[in-house]
Amino acid sequence: MDLELSDDQRMLKESVDRLVAERYDLDQRRGYMSQPAGWSAEMWSAFADLGLTMLPFSEEQGGLGLGGVETMIVGEAFGRALVIEPYLPSVVLAGTAISHAGTPDQVAEWLPPIMSGETICALATEAAVTAERTGETWILDGAAKVVLGGDTAGQLVIPAGDDLFVLPADAAGLQRRGYRVHGGGGAADLTLIGVKLPEKNRLSGNGGCTRALEAGIAWLAAEAVGAMQAALDLTVEYLKTREQFGKPIAVNQSLQHRAAEMLVEVEQARSAAMYAALLCDEHDDHVRATGYAAVKAVIGKAGRFVAQNSVQLHGGIGVSEEHVISHYFRRLTAIGMLLGDTESQITRLAELGGFTTAAPHFD
């Protein structure tokens, strides 16, 4: 057991933190949101230049070969800065799916443009699509909703049956309706009517999708920690500086205790994110499945508590769009809903049998 960052990890953290500190304040973020894509191509390049878009992929696949901890470091910084560029959809979700499910040839075809940042790719995580084979051609029909990043993606990864299919966003028969999502970023609803794809676009093995969802949960956990810690810091600062009745409102014991309760939740979220980061190397599917369900369940609940109370403790200013607290509130709300909310993760954890059995510890 060793829970300190390595020197390399500390250096990565410093450079990512510096990048977002310099180029991602709330005003700059507004500027990025107002660009045609709804995010900044320039920032996207900056992330790619720093190597972030190739970070989690193995060196054999052409990536940096870094792991869950490094991704967590990036996620936490992005959460704090409320980054809206499609890192989660393209690198974490679609990238992980391709890198796990693809043959070496398929990986060599689809992954490099994602790693270079050149192509934005999106994974449909809520899809009901069927694929039928006719000769060498697959025909896809169905629909997918809330495909994160799907509004600006050049390429889509869509699960059908036990397979994943890679298709260009302009494929014939594919309709997409893109939109902004609350909390930042964009998504699309897709309709597929007789979309034709060659065999080479089929990544066999849906295990890639599971891995992608797990990586997505780990990413969301890290982002949530960044956002929650920032929201708590701002709230504590506000309690110390906001005066009413001639004294800082921090003199109110009820508010002190609430802030302490928020701290407990932030620390639990931090533990969850750390656990999620280290779980990606776990080989046992059941351990990963139960672990990620627990992580997302805790993140959802903790994030909601911190979001609601940081608004409450800020009073009126907390619901103003001009104040960053309202943006943390919205992003944390969205994070709680994405990739399975607390309720659904708990149901899943119960179905998986949880962490302990009814049997005694030993007999």
Binding site: V181, E243, S254, Q312, S320
Partner: protein, 385 residues
């Protein structure tokens, strides 16, 4: 002891419901059903409809154009509006400045303002809070200097709900900065928002809507006949106003409307339905608490500090319902759709307001006395702590 409404009260409820069904504009109704905010014109038209029966001013005495409702009738009337759902009469007019004009206004002021206030010919804004004066309202700094038959007012007011629709603003100003206690140097003024020196700036809230504003006052010359009550005695007027603000605030009917929406979205989802039932159980009992307080009001007109229970629990349940509605909608609620999107009549079209409304409803435990303030009131007045 009897909880039942009388036959007359039941008939009154049906009368209100029929009136709403027949008179509420379908577009306004649809907006309310979907959780959108009606336009100014729609709200004005509806309030004028209500005013044809003196129902725009349910708490005003008959002597001043009110309907002479009993407390129970007032409750039934509001409950039907909330459940319909239909817009409430504009509270700044009807629950705030109206009763103040009736209690403290001169005959000339009543003549000038009351009927127009009821009919929404004048739309009022509330100019109380300032950036440095929230729960500690008495520390306000907007100044009023007497100059002949005018007050010259300068300052910065914040959180003016719907001030961009408003014609006039009732406000608190510091007229005597030398007063020994900060509560003693405050006056209550009415300000015409078209006067030179008034600037209204929108504040966009986390639902991306424009509902509240900042109002900047720069040497605004306000005629002295716009003073309510005595100079430097504005704090008494304020206390009177705030004690009226808290009644009937459980807004149980609004939560019922949210629960209806939850049930529509839930389909056969047992977990959501069980959570909705848990809310309904508490809501049903809160309704009895509301009736108990109404029963007390029939006996005494004094402000009932137990009203804080209605505010606290009412908001808690409404926020919980909005949260459950969000859970029932799932990720489909994440799409940003603005209030100017076309009105729909299918379930999907309802989703656009769910996340914004969940967010903005967090403010309900902040304004009108935060939940923390309510607990303090209850501890002090009811428990002697």
């Amino acid at each position: 002891m009897d909880l039942r409404f009388t036959a007359e009260e039941e008939a009154f409820r049906l009368d209100v419901r029929a009136f709403i069904r027949e008179n509420l504009d379908p577009v306004t109704h649809r907006k309310m059903v979907e959780g959108r905010i009606p336009d100014r014109e729609e709200i004005v038209a509806w309030q004028r409809k209500l005013n044809t029966r003196n129902w725009a001013t349910p708490s005003w005495p008959q002597s001043h154009g009110g309907p002479g409702f009993t407390p129970v009738q007032r409750y039934i009337f509001l409950d039907e509006l909330h459940q319909a759902p239909a817009p409430e009469p504009v509270s700044f007019n009807v629950s705030m400045i109206g009763p103040v004009l009736i209690e403290y206004g001169t005959a000339a002021q009543q003549e000038r303002f009351l009927a127009a206030t009821a009919n929404l010919d004048i739309w009022w804004a509330q100019g109380f809070s300032e950036p440095g004066a929230g729960s500690d309202l008495a520390s306000l700094r907007t100044s009023a200097r007497r100059d002949g038959d005018h007050y010259v007012v300068s300052g910065h007011k914040i959180w003016q709900g719907m001030a961009h629709h408003a014609d006039w603003m009732f406000t608190l100003v510091r007229s005597d900065p030398q007063a020994p206690k900060k509560q003693m140097g405050i006056s209550f003024l009415l300000i015409d928002l078209r006067l030179p020196g008034v600037t209204i700036r929108p504040i966009i809230t986390l639902d991306e809507r424009h509902e509240v504003n900042e109002v900047f006052l720069d040497e605004v010359r306000v005629p002295v006949d716009c003073l309510i009550g005595e100079e430097n005695k504005g704090w008494d007027v304020t206390k009177f106003l705030l004690s009226n603000e808290r009644t009937g605030i459980a807004r149980i009917g609004m939560t019922k409307h949210l629960i209806r929406r939850i049930k529509r979205l839930a389909g056969g989802n047992r977990s959501v339905l069980a959570k909705a039932a848990a809310l309904e159980a508490e809501l049903k009992i809160l309704e009895i608490t509301q009736l108990r307080i109404l029963d007390g009001q029939r006996r005494s007109s004094a402000a009932d500090p137990r009203s804080s229970i209605l505010k606290l629990k009412g908001v808690e349940l409404r926020q919980a319902a909005s949260e459950l509605l969000l859970a029932a909608a799932g990720t489909s609620a994440l799409e940003v759709r603005h209030d100017d999107a076309p009105l729909g009549d299918d379930d999907a079209e309802w989703l656009g307001t769910i996340m914004p409304n969940y967010g903005i409803l967090r403010a309900a435990s902040i304004y009108g006395g935060s939940s923390e303030v309510q607990k303090g009131i209850l501890a002090k007045t009811q428990l002697g702590l």
